[in-house]
């Protein structure tokens, strides 16, 4: 079962001072400190907690750089709506788009119109499929991976409709290759992302062979490039700009999928730990009257992504007020959406499948024996979850011992140092 | 005839803990050694004929005999005080010459020492020494090296010998070890 999993970070071991902070923050208990920091590739869901929480910046996100753009003839940027929320209220998204064009993008694709369209498609899907409840949004790649890894029996609940960024990429590539009469491969579509997880979903999508998007650039990298240009543009007052920008209904804030379609029995949950709580309830069939769950790995949703400049509360405020100030809701052709839906245009290429679970052994009887061993070791451990052994909890440590990845004497409470009173 | 037939397998019997006491007579410079089975070794000086023996040192050791496990033959080692490993301290010493010759074959020479002075007290016979040699080599099982035992008569100057003697020096000292 040695499957390769792509991850959007590399570990710079020399920087690690062994503070073990990351180990405690990792929501899937994927990190271990054994002489040096390592992570269990099959458990990592690329939520970015380790990147955000390590004071030594040991985890370096792997992302596209501006250099990666050079290999394409025609460049299209798909900015996450979060990008516009990084600036003040007096900066209209169109100015931001203009700045993006100045740094070299040929075209800026708009995502919110498609979002509304997909929201409507989702509503239609819920109406026509009343049996599978609650559906879980496929929007956040980390959440999709969390389900694959820790909740394999919930993969069937992941909404089968693709995410706006992919549909936009698919659409723009088609449109521009026809318009410019060039090979779609020569068109580079880049997502301006608030989080590293998107990058993983591009490199190794859970639901299709390959992504429509060619790369992702962190918002914070783009920010530093376009901020001076935006200031220039603001100085050239009264300059006419084409107002072709659309605001979606929810637009970049929490709840935006459900808001855009007006779903009522809908939960929104942010943060991996909170999402786990909700998923646990789904497993034990506690959530009975909920139709749809919008789960996002970052606290406060995408505005809390690791690549954002502004703090999540301010960008959330910005987002809401930008829409109030400039917002107009663009109508879309509902008939067309339903036709597209029936043709399968919006659907994921294939359903999300569970990742192989970390069981001890494919043979259940051997696995049970190992489990018993683990329980016995666990009962001897202090259950203080101190983390000094390098595993996040005593329970995980017991498991590592049974797997032979750790020695029981690695437990500080059993070590000689402990007995000598050094701890 | 009986002995010829049995290829003896030896084991150690009659093991008695005791002390090896070394004494010196400062008049003639002779050194004497003997066993004491008392709980605390005697340290007082005493006169014996022309000698005035002074206590030089004591060490914990053992007395033992060897017995064949097959034919029950008992071989007494009353004259053996201990064995010491030759480290080649004296170029003129015959033991050292032998060691130089045998060292490439990983044969180590141990000196069986008995009572001092050599010429005044009864010593181990060559046969006893070869039995002792057999015993130790039998115990070494599948070893790549062998043991050769020689008499302390071969030692050039026993008083200056730096061989590593197997005895428990300082076993009973009551001072704290230095950390």
């Amino acid at each position: 079962m040695d499957q390769y999993f792509y991850h959007a970070h590399e570990i710079i071991k020399e920087r690690c001072d062994g503070s073990l902070k990351c180990i405690r923050f990792c929501p899937t208990q994927a990190l271990r400190f054994r002489k040096e920091i390592t992570f269990l590739s099959d458990l990592c869901i690329d939520c970015g907690e380790c990147i955000a929480n390590c004071p030594q910046h040991v985890f370096k996100p792997i992302i596209s750089t501006v250099d990666d753009l050079k290999s394409f003839k025609y460049l299209i940027a798909i900015p996450s709506p979060i990008l516009y929320a990084q600036f003040g209220l007096n900066i209209h998204p169109t100015i931001v788009n203009q700045a993006l064009k100045q740094i070299g993008f040929n075209e800026i694709a708009d995502i919110s119109k498609t979002s509304d369209e997909l929201g409507f498609a989702l509503l239609h899907h819920l109406k026509t499929h009343p049996d599978i409840r609650p559906l879980i949004s496929s929007f956040c790649p980390s959440i999709v991976r969390l389900i694959q890894v820790k909740y394999p029996n919930l993969v069937g609940l992941i909404e089968p409709i693709d995410v706006p960024r992919e549909i936009v990429a698919k659409r723009t590539k088609q449109i521009y290759s026809e318009k410019l009469k060039i090979n779609p491969k020569e068109i580079g579509v880049f997502y301006l992302t608030p989080c590293p997880a998107i990058f993983v979903s591009i490199k190794q999508p859970a639901e299709k062979k390959s992504s429509w998007i060619d790369g992702a650039i962190p918002i914070r990298d783009i920010y530093s490039l376009i901020f001076p240009i935006i200031q220039q543009l603001l100085d050239e007052k009264d300059k006419e700009y084409q107002d072709t920008f659309h605001f979606g209904k929810g637009w970049g804030v929490l709840n935006y999928i459900s808001r855009s379609v007006g779903l009522e029995n809908c939960l929104t949950v942010t943060g991996v730990q909170n999402a786990k709580m909700v998923f646990d309830d789904i497993v034990s069939s506690k959530l009975r009257d909920i139709d749809f769950i919008e789960a996002l790995a970052c606290k406060q949703g995408c505005v809390g992504g690791a690549f954002c400049m502004e703090n999540p509360y301010i960008s959330r405020h910005n987002s809401i007020f930008l829409q109030k100030k400039y917002g107009d809701i663009n109508p879309f052709d509902k008939e067309k959406v339903i036709t597209n839906y029936n043709e399968g245009y919006y659907f994921l290429e294939h359903p999300v499948l569970p990742r192989p679970t970390r069981s001890f052994n494919p043979d259940i009887s051997i696995s049970i024996r190992k489990m018993k061993q683990k329980m016995r070791i666990s009962s001897k451990l202090p259950q203080k979850d101190c983390g000094l052994c390098g595993a996040p909890t005593c329970d995980e440590f017991a498991e590592d011992c049974v797997r032979g990845e750790a020695e029981p004497t690695d437990c500080a409470f059993f070590s000689d140092e402990f007995k000598k009173g050094r701890y | 005839m009986h002995e010829e037939k049995c290829s003896h397998i030896w084991e150690m019997v009659d093991v008695i803990p005791c002390f090896i006491i070394t004494e010196k007579c400062y008049h003639c410079g002779k050194i004497a050694t003997y066993f004491s089975t008392e709980h605390t070794p005697p340290i007082e000086e005493y006169r014996e004929g022309v000698h005035l023996w002074n206590f030089m040192g004591s060490a914990q050791s053992i007395k033992f005999n060897l017995k064949c496990t097959k034919c029950d033959k008992l071989e007494k080692f009353d004259e053996l005080l201990g064995v010491m490993m030759c480290t080649g301290c004296d170029e003129k010493c015959e033991v050292n010459v032998l060691l130089k010759k045998l060292e490439p074959k990983r044969t180590w020479i141990y000196v069986a020492f008995g009572y001092l002075p050599i010429d005044e007290k009864k010593q181990l016979s060559p046969k006893q020494i070869s039995i002792l040699e057999d015993y130790f080599n039998q115990r070494r099982k599948s070893s790549k090296s062998t043991i050769k035992i020689v008499s302390h008569k071969l030692v050039n100057n026993i008083a200056n010998c730096y061989a590593e003697i197997i005895k428990d020096v300082d076993m009973l000292c009551l001072t704290l070890p230095e950390k």
Binding site: D416 | Q60, M84, M85, S145, I147, E164, D168
Partner: protein, 110 residues
């Protein structure tokens, strides 16, 4: 059990040259006379004696190795002598009893 395996599992310090040897059983005593009498060929000898005549005793009965417990410092002359006579000396910072506890853990039982 192989000596190298034990060294790795118990995290023992190697104070002399080390070669691959088979370890059969463990012997604990601080008395050299006791070693001469009771230790068996191939034993691992746990002791706190660091005097160089330990080498003499270990060589005589062909012990697998000497393990000096309690973090005791071993004099250089002992180490030199051991290297010359192919006697292996190892070190551990555990007490004799604690080391036994670990030896049992890795399966070296009487």
């Amino acid at each position: 059990m192989q000596l190298i395996e034990i060294i790795e599992k118990l995290n023992l310090k190697t104070l002399t040259n080390v070669e691959e040897r088979n370890v059969e059983g463990v012997f604990i005593s601080d008395m050299l006379s006791d070693v001469m009498t009771n230790a068996k060929s191939g034993n691992l000898w746990l002791t706190i004696q660091t005097h160089k005549n330990t080498v003499s005793a270990a060589n005589l009965v062909n012990l697998a190795a000497i393990v000096i417990t309690h973090e005791k410092e071993v004099p250089q002359e002992t180490i030199d002598l051991a290297n010359r006579f192919y006697v292996i000396i190892l070190g551990s910072d555990l007490s004799t009893y604690e080391l036994v506890s670990k030896l049992v853990g890795i399966g070296l039982t009487p």
